[in-house]
Symmetry: C2
Subunit: 99 residues, 2 copies
C-alpha cells in the first residue's frame, strides 16, 4: 500500500502518474474485453486526470459510454510523522447496449 | 471570459487559484446566508481542489451537508492559435434540514 496503489480489479482502472492516454487505453481495452461497466478511481492530484480519462473515453473512443455514479470521498494517508487527508473520486462509466 | 471565470451566481462557487480554504469559507458563508444548495464548479487543474473543498466543508464545517449530483463535462477553450478541450466538474452540496 506504499505509493501508488496497484490493486487490480477486473473492472477498475486506478489513475496514477502515467499520461492520461495510458489509462484511456486501459478503459477502452476493458470495454473491448466485454466489460459493460468500469470504475475509474483516483486520489489527490490524479483526480483531474480521472475526469480527463472519463471524458476522453466517452467523447473520442466509445460514444455509447455514459457516466454513471460519481462518488467523492476522503482517505487518511500516512505521511512521515503525520496522517493527512486526501480526496478521492470514483467515476463509473457504463456502456449502453446498441440496438 | 478571459482567464479565470468570475461569473457570480448566488449559489455557485467557482474554484480558481486561491488556496482551498478561501473557497471553503465562501461555501460555508453561503450556507450561513440561508442557501440550502450550493454548486462548486471547476475546470482543468482546479478539479481536484473542487473535490477537496466539498470534502472539507462536509467533514469539518457543515456535518449536515451532503453531496448531491456530480456532473463532469468538457469545454472548448481558445488558447493561442488552437482550441483545447478542458474537463469540468460541478459538485452539488445540499444542506439537510436538522429536525
Amino acid at each position: 500500500m506504499t505509493g501508488e496503489q496497484k490493486k487490480k480489479d477486473n473492472n477498475t482502472v486506478f489513475i496514477g502518474k502515467k499520461p492520461s492516454m495510458a489509462y484511456v487505453l486501459a478503459v477502452v481495452t476493458q470495454f473491448g474485453d466485454g466489460q459493460s461497466e468500469i470504475r475509474i478511481k483516483a486520489r489527490g492530484r490524479a483526480i483531474g486526470k480521472a475526469v480527463d480519462v472519463a471524458e476522453i473515453v466517452r467523447n473520442r473512443f466509445i460514444q455509447t459510454a455514459m457516466v454513471g455514479e460519481i462518488i467523492i470521498g476522503t482517505e487518511e494517508v500516512a505521511a512521515e510523522n503525520e496522517k493527512i487527508n486526501v480526496s478521492t473520486i470514483d467515476i463509473q462509466l457504463k456502456k449502453q447496449e446498441t440496438k
